[in-house]
Amino acid sequence: MQRIPDERVLQPRPEIIDRLRAILPEHCVLASPVELAAYECDGLPAFRQRPMVVVLPERIEQVQAVMRLCHAEQVPVVARGAGTGLSGGALPLSDGVLLSLAKFNQILEIDADNLRARVQPGVRNLAISEAAAPHGLYYAPDPSSQIACSIGGNVAENSGGVHCLKYGLTVHNIQHLKLVSVAGELFEVGSEALDAPGFDLLALMTGSEGMLGIIVEVTVKLLPRPERAQVLLAAFADVASAGAAVADIIAAGVTPAGLEMMDNPAICAAEDFVHAGYPRDAAAILICELDGTNAEVSMEVLRVRELLLAAGATQVRTAKDEAERTLFWKGRKSAFPAAGRISPDYYCMDGTIPRRELAHVLTRIDELSQAYGLGVANVFHAGDGNLHPLILYDANIPGELEKAEAFGGDILELCVEVGGTVTGEHGVGVEKLNQMCVQFNAEELAQFHALKAAFDPDGLLNPGKAVPTLHRCAEFGAMHVHKGELPFPDLPRF
């Protein structure tokens, strides 16, 4: 398996390091092997590459100067936030500049009257809500990594979290961006109002994985903190009933703030890790959070409780206080590290499916798990159909990583087959390039490349990520015939 998906001819240009030192303060340029080692990978350690040089600019003008130099010299640039991404979007290039936004860590303004916060891209997701808390406000999207991940990275990946069903993804919760173009120009998209003239470049930039520009400032929307949030925990004897309960809740017109599912291996792993009080004998649990005013929440808790019981829940518990509510969530939010305790390595997938396909997809994943001989624990943003199977493997056993990746690839293709997508919130990065060939045809991929060229004609921003080349898809197709049809039949093979 090709570990580094970069198809360019490498052009190491060590003299660029000195030229970067001429335009940045000395402490902002890292080039020794020890310093570079820390930047070899992001949150997907299966892919590693040491960058030629790391720069950590402190001001927007410095970012512009770096981009002007790299543009003039045709050196590729990979932007990086906190490095918590799970798809290898910030994987460096051995002949490229890794541009870290870590020093852009200031909250510039909390504007409570306009319900917004203006922040630098390196600010941590959770830090925004903490700064807004004295005003009774918060920033809604909450990826599991929110204590560490940066808002710039959230925008680049269009990150989600456990509250997307009611409050949306990053794209629904930002208003304005300042960016530096590949040629070093500063430009803005969005506005301080609720819309902006021209094309919706704000939406286009969100989730563009550092391929179209460098984000140097973000204005996010803030929301008033709900008066009350209440969590129910329901246990089910089979996964299909839990899936049906999800559909029943949605069909009844309830919009939970969060609606999460975990299967038995995930329940046991989380329970062993944080003792959240989960029923270890359940085939699946649902965690349902309801928020709003006191009166609303009181009513809805009763209603959802009835729906859960009617759908066959063997047990429904309501968090008796804030401490128990936090504990219920803690089990879910620590599902990833919990998987890390039961297996030397795990590989987190991120497909989205129509909710009605849940039972079918989980059954297929179970069959694949047996066929590959690898365990899997499923955690699921059930409300919005976003599935995170955690494939358990041991990288020290030769061939297991490749097996885990093949298993993961099969799961993503299954998601596409049932009408879903290969990535709900983690991004394509380098990880899902092959599956992009399954989800999109050659003309659609060519349209993506044309759009990329509109912003970056020379392909210097994060080359090799997010959108596969047609050549790569032809090669992938050659070894991977989908539904009996050869993908990209019109492309020359070589």
């Binding site: 069903l165 109002a193 391929m211 559909a247 009166a295 909710r355």
Partner: protein, 373 residues
Amino acid sequence: MVQAQQEVAPSLNHPQDQQLALVEQVQAALARQTPLHIQGGGSKAFYGLPVQAEDRLELSPHRGVIAYEASELAITVRAGTRLAEVQALLAAQEQQLPFEPPHFGANATIGGAVACGLSGPSRPYLGSVRDAVLGVKLINGRGQVLSFGGRVMKNVAGYDVSRLMVGALGTLGVLLEVSLKVVPRPKVRVTLVQTCGPQEAIARMRHWARLPLSFTGSAWESGRLYARLCGSEEALAEATARIGGEPLSEEAAGRFWRDLREHRQRFFQSPEPLWRLSVAPATPLLELRGEQVIEWGGALRWYKTSVAPDELRVIARRAGGHATLFHYDASQLPHDGNVFAPLDPTTMRLTAAVKQAFDPSGMFNPGHLYRDF
């Protein structure tokens, strides 16, 4: 009621599916290098600049619902489907489009609503058209049929082309199908009315925005401030006690919000040009001659005014937003010939490059969004 439609491949030989004919027309136009004027129901033809193309590409025959299953909270329809038809279908399942789109005519289509990107009174509370778009199928300027996004709530595979189509006024491609997120329709709602001036109205709206209540609309018109909330009976009783005001009858409330959305009030009828100023919501009362209506918690200010366009644009920009000449006659056009606010040079260059990436020959709706393309 529409049964669950799990068939993913839309049927191209369905009598209401005009995809093949539309592609043929686009390819023929490409061969002739004659640009096309894309039209749905024609209800919002006034919006933007007049299209500089003679040949029409009619989307309204390309209609019908492709998939709708209430528990998935998503609907997929052909772009020429009438908005009213979609809304009736959703209402039968106790659901609705979150963005409460204006129709501006009985023939309004979903494709037109998405291309214009206009959202109604619920926009600040339930999201905009673009917030609800999950996926599109389109014909690009090379005559290719392409699909982006999907029917699921979360999808970050590839660039967000679907949302890029919203508000592009058809200048990037011909929308064939659109998938939209839908939301439950509130079982109970109330509209409360208070009497106050516009300055006070903005202050009250901003106070309300900080409360954890389920607002779905706020507006000030002719000395009256309106708040619309939804939820259970108990929650509404609580909210009414908290913010105060006289409740409107269900009928009167329905009429008020519909007339506001559809611009039927007296304010909208005068012959002066109608300007739409989209601003940071807490912007204090703008010092402008002329009448106004305020919506969206203060973020949307409609003006009937003869103040010079340049001045209005500067005022809107200082308020963090932008000004659009919404309804006008040719004599009222600004000097630069554009109804939308000018973009800074870098953004304008990138905007033109995006247009080029989708429609290199300039086939679709030339001159409709900006005069130059």
